[in-house]
Structures are given as structure tokens and as C-alpha cells.
């Protein structure tokens, strides 16, 4: 078992006296699906945003695919990680001025210097895998939320990442669109992708996660396999959260 991400004692604060991350340590092994849950403001989004350098650290250190990030890391290290770690946001964040095809092939062409034809071929294959091949020549505004999020997943996959980060990927979707996105993620997990998923989808966590991590107020409250987390959570705080969710 190799370690994809190792976090050691991460501390991050936006305002003095209030830590968004208050000493978080964890390990994600290669091929594992880790679901991070917790009430809003618990620091779970901040946590996964530190994994690819979107948030800086006040102290502590990260080892992401062998690259070290800490309070004093350089931009170069972050770039090295971002080419190997894909990310999907709550609000999709597609580029509205580019077609779906261009959204997906932009980074392969500009960052990996692939040939345009090859990059577009790959984009079509990924769209096919996401079940939205026929949308290739449309623009983001013409797609439903669920379709846009699947494009965002395809865009991240186009760089052939070793780890995928999902930051509440279904929270901005209509309820009837949630399933199509979760199905795409399920498929990805089956293919052996290392995934860290921040979500409130209990069903997805129970079914797909290898481990569930519960956070509150910037701290890890508990980490366990989904079976025992959902039926028999160790901590009182986790049980209270779960009782409100169900």
C-alpha cells in the first residue's frame, strides 16, 4: 500500500483565534476512496483545498504524491502537484466562453503540450464515458447542472490525474440531477481512482467509501469504515450529526 496523501498536523486560520484547520492529520492510500463529512464550517472544504495548494498552510506539512507542501512551499511545487491531482468544484467552474470540447482539451494542449487532434479525441472519449458525447460542441450555459458537473469531471480526468478531489460536487444540483453525477463518480471509484470526496450524500458514502472521516470545528472527530460509522459511530458528536442528516 503506497500513500498518496499524508497530512501532518495541518493548521490554517482565516482570522486570529479561529482555526479553520486545527491540527488535522490523515493518510490516503493509493486507490482508496475517502469521504469527508461534517457540518458546514467544519473545515472539510479548506482541508481538501490545501491538498493542491488552493489554500496555504499556517503550519504542518503535506506530502502529496511525493511532493512536499508546507507553510513555506514554492509555486513550482504546487504546479507539480496540480498536474497530477484533479479537482471538481461545487459550482462546476467551467469556462463559459469555451465550448465543452475546448473546456476539456484546454489543459492537455496548453499544459501537457499534446497535439490538438489527440487532445480532442481524448475529450470525446471522456465525454462518451460520462454519457454526454452529443454535448461536445455546445457551451456550458446550454447544459443542465448535472451535465456541467460531468463535463467538469471529464475536464479534470483529461490530465490523467492520479488523485481526484471532489468539493461538494452535488450540493449545487437539483435533486434529480444528483444521481447522474454520483454514478459517474461511482464508475471512477470502481476503476481504482484515488478519491477524496467532501459530500453530504450518505448513500454514496455508505456504498462507495473505503473510509469515512468526520470533521467538526477544524478537527478530525473520527475516521472509520462506513459500516461502523453509519451504524455505530464512536463519538457522540458524529452520532448527533448523523441523526440530523437522517
Amino acid at each position: 500500500m503506497t500513500i498518496a496523501i499524508r497530512a501532518t498536523d495541518l493548521v490554517k486560520s482565516y482570522s486570529p483565534g479561529l482555526n479553520a484547520l486545527d491540527g488535522v492529520s490523515l493518510e490516503v492510500t493509493t486507490g482508496e476512496v475517502l469521504v469527508v463529512m461534517g457540518p458546514s464550517g467544519s473545515g472539510k472544504s479548506t482541508l481538501i483545498r490545501t491538498f493542491n495548494g488552493l489554500e496555504t498552510l499556517d503550519s504542518g506539512s503535506l506530502d502529496v504524491l511525493g511532493v512536499r507542501l508546507d507553510a513555506a512551499h514554492e509555486e513550482r511545487q504546487v504546479r507539480a502537484i496540480r498536474e497530477r491531482v484533479g479537482m471538481v468544484f461545487q459550482q462546476f467552474n467551467l469556462f463559459p466562453h469555451l465550448s465543452i470540447l475546448d473546456n476539456i482539451s484546454l489543459a492537455p494542449i496548453k499544459v501537457q503540450k499534446r497535439a490538438k487532434a489527440a487532445a480532442e479525441q481524448l475529450a470525446i472519449e471522456l465525454l462518451d464515458q460520462m454519457g454526454i458525447r452529443e454535448q461536445a460542441h455546445k457551451y456550458p450555459a446550454q447544459l443542465s447542472g448535472g451535465q456541467q458537473q460531468r463535463v467538469a469531471i471529464a475536464r479534470a480526468l483529461a490530465l490523467d490525474p492520479e488523485v481526484m478531489l471532489f468539493d461538494e460536487p452535488t450540493s449545487a444540483l437539483d435533486p434529480e440531477r444528483v444521481k447522474e453525477v454520483l454514478d459517474a463518480m461511482r464508475q471512477l471509484a470502481k476503476g481504482g481512482m484515488t478519491m477524496v470526496v467532501v459530500t453530504h450524500e450518505l448513500g454514496f458514502a455508505r456504498e462507495v467509501a473505503d473510509r469515512v472521516m468526520f470533521m467538526d470545528q477544524g478537527r478530525v472527530i473520527e475516521t472509520s469504515d462506513p459500516q461502523s460509522f453509519f451504524s455505530n459511530a464512536k463519538e457522540e458528536r458524529s452520532r448527533r450529526f448523523l441523526s440530523q442528516m437522517m
Binding site: R82, M87, F89, F95, L106, A107, Y139, Q142
Partner: protein, 324 residues
């Protein structure tokens, strides 16, 4: 009771408008003497450009008009459409070459440039200089480096606090003082530079508005895909910011065209300068109305063409609308 008053008022107003309109039309057809315009059309087009070389500025004007017509009415897709940006960007160097000469054409000094061709050149020249400068200023104003941010902000605020005419006079009188003796920049170039320095401050604010309209999440999305900050700016942020800023940039362009008339005060014989020198000619004494109506019509036509082009560009740049 009220109804009768309304009817009566309406009729009276219609009669008044009709009478005013009729007398205007009557004056335009019968009262006005258009010889001052008709006989001087070549002067309006090219100024006092040497007779033998007049085809050069005329070719400039014709090329621009043809390009406008093709852009607005030409085919929507295919090779023509794709080569249009190239043709448009070739227009400026081509125009300068045709006017100034050199490289096979006999050189013509800027003192002989004039008329509509000079107005076009002043507008295009200062606009093309001001746009990149304005973008740099806008980026500078949003920079994290205090020196850059402070400098850009100070420049923008200073330029916006000075009237254009003062900047133009500074350009004519002060720039030569800073140059070593013997080096001389000609009047047209000085005017274009001063004009561009002024317009850049306003363009910078329009572009900044566009930049602010782009959510920071776009930059994040570009960053996590491994794009460098420069790539993110060039491929993701600026293209979107320009779309947002386009209507206000159009405003600036129209203003630029109209403000070139201020150069007449500096002694350049663009459209207004030509008109003033014509009115000073004893042969055309008192023909103010004719000359200024003609002038207004020419400016109106030029500005309308610009506005139409801008709207066309807006539609072309809107992916969803242009796909229809």
C-alpha cells in the same frame, strides 16, 4: 372638455412640427448652397495631400469602408469570416505605409496629411496604442505589488483629472522639451501619443470593470488544471473580461473618434480643421450652417459604423448567440 383640449394641443403641435420640418427641408434643398461642400470633397477626404499621390489616402478610406461592409454584410461563416481579424489588424500598418510612403512609395510629410484620412489615422493610431496600455494599467491596478498598483492608480487618477485639451497641449509643447536637442517628433505622432496616453486611463477603468466581473473561481479552475498565472489570464480571464467590457470600450472608441476634432485647435487639418480653413476662405464666407451640418453628418456616419461594428463583434463573441 379635456378631450377637446388634448385634440387641439395635439393638432397645434403637429402643425408646428410640420412647419419646422418643412422649413428645414426647404432650406436644405433650396436655401442652402452646397457648393462649399461639393467642390471641396477631395479636400475633406485627403486634405492638402499632393495631387499625384491622392490615390493613396483615398485607397485607405475605400479599404476601410469595404472592410466594414464585408464585416457587417458579408458571409457569416467560412474562409472570409476567419480571415477578417487578420485583415483588420493589417489595416493600421497598411494605412500608415500608404499615408507616409517609403518602401517604394514617395514619402509624404505629415504636414500634408489631412481630412477624413487623417481623422481615421488619428483614431486608429491612438486607439491601438491606448488599448494595450489600458489593459496593462488595469492589470497593474489589480496587482499584488504595491509599487505597481500605486503607480497605475496614480496615473489613471491623474489622467482622468486633466482635461483632454490640456493633455494635448502638454503633448505638443512639453514632449519636445524632454527630448535631446536635434531630435524631433512630428506633430501628428505627438498628438497620437498624447491622445493615447489620455485614452488609456479611461480604457483601463473599463477593462478593470470587466476583470472584476469575472469570479475568482474561474482563476482557481484554471490553476487546478495546471495553467500558469499568465496562461490563466490570457486564456480564461481576459477573453471573458473583454466581453464584459466591450460595450464601454465601444463608448471609448466613439469618443476617441469625436475627440480627434480637438486636434484642429492644435493646427492639424483633420475634418474640423479643414472646415475651419474653408470657412476662412473669402469664397465661402458665411457658409457656417452648410459646413457644420455636413461635418455632423460625416461624424454621425462614422460613429454609427463603429457602433454597428461593435454590436456585430458582441454577437460574434457571444458563443451561444453566434451559434444560432
Amino acid at each position: 372638455m379635456n378631450r377637446w383640449l388634448d385634440r387641439w394641443l395635439t393638432l397645434m403641435l403637429l402643425a408646428l412640427l410640420g412647419w419646422a420640418g418643412w422649413s428645414c427641408l426647404h432650406w436644405l434643398w433650396h436655401g442652402a448652397d452646397w457648393t462649399v461642400v461639393v467642390t471641396n470633397l477631395p479636400l475633406y477626404a485627403v486634405g492638402s495631400y499632393p495631387d499625384a499621390e491622392r490615390w493613396r489616402p483615398l485607397l485607405c478610406i475605400v479599404a476601410v469602408v469595404v472592410l466594414i461592409v464585408i464585416t457587417l454584410l458579408g458571409p457569416r461563416h467560412g474562409g472570409w469570416r476567419r480571415s477578417l481579424p487578420l485583415l483588420w489588424s493589417a489595416m493600421a500598418p497598411l494605412g500608415i505605409w500608404l499615408l507616409a510612403g517609403g518602401l517604394g512609395l514617395s514619402p509624404v510629410g505629415t504636414q500634408s496629411w489631412g481630412g477624413f484620412s487623417l481623422t481615421l489615422l488619428l483614431t486608429a493610431g491612438s486607439g491601438l496604442l491606448a488599448l494595450p496600455l489600458g489593459v496593462l494599467l488595469a492589470l497593474g491596478r489589480r496587482s499584488d505589488l504595491p509599487v505597481l498598483r500605486g503607480g497605475s492608480t496614480a496615473y489613471i487618477e491623474l489622467m482622468r483629472a486633466i482635461p483632454l485639451i490640456a493633455v494635448l497641449f502638454f503633448g505638443q509643447l512639453l514632449i519636445p522639451l524632454f527630448l535631446p536637442p536635434g531630435v524631433e517628433i512630428n506633430r501628428v505622432l505627438r498628438a497620437v501619443v498624447a491622445f493615447a496616453l489620455f485614452a488609456a486611463a479611461y480604457i483601463a477603468e473599463d477593462v478593470r470593470g470587466g476583470l472584476q466581473a469575472i469570479p475568482p473561481t474561474q482563476r482557481e479552475a484554471a490553476a487546478v488544471l495546471g495553467l500558469s498565472p499568465w496562461q490563466s489570464l490570457q486564456l480564461v480571464v481576459l477573453p471573458q473580461a473583454f466581453r464584459v467590457a466591450l460595450p464601454s470600450l465601444t463608448n471609448q472608441a466613439v469618443g476617441l473618434l469625436q475627440n480627434t476634432s480637438l486636434m484642429a485647435i492644435l493646427g492639424l487639418v483633420e475634418l474640423l480643421g479643414i472646415s475651419r480653413s474653408l470657412l476662412a476662405n473669402p469664397a465661402f464666407i458665411g457658409r457656417y450652417l452648410e459646413v457644420y451640418i455636413w461635418l455632423a453628418a460625416v461624424y454621425w456616419l462614422a460613429c454609427t459604423a463603429m457602433a454597428l461594428l461593435a454590436r456585430h463583434l458582441e454577437i460574434q463573441l457571444d458563443p451561444v448567440r453566434s451559434a444560432r
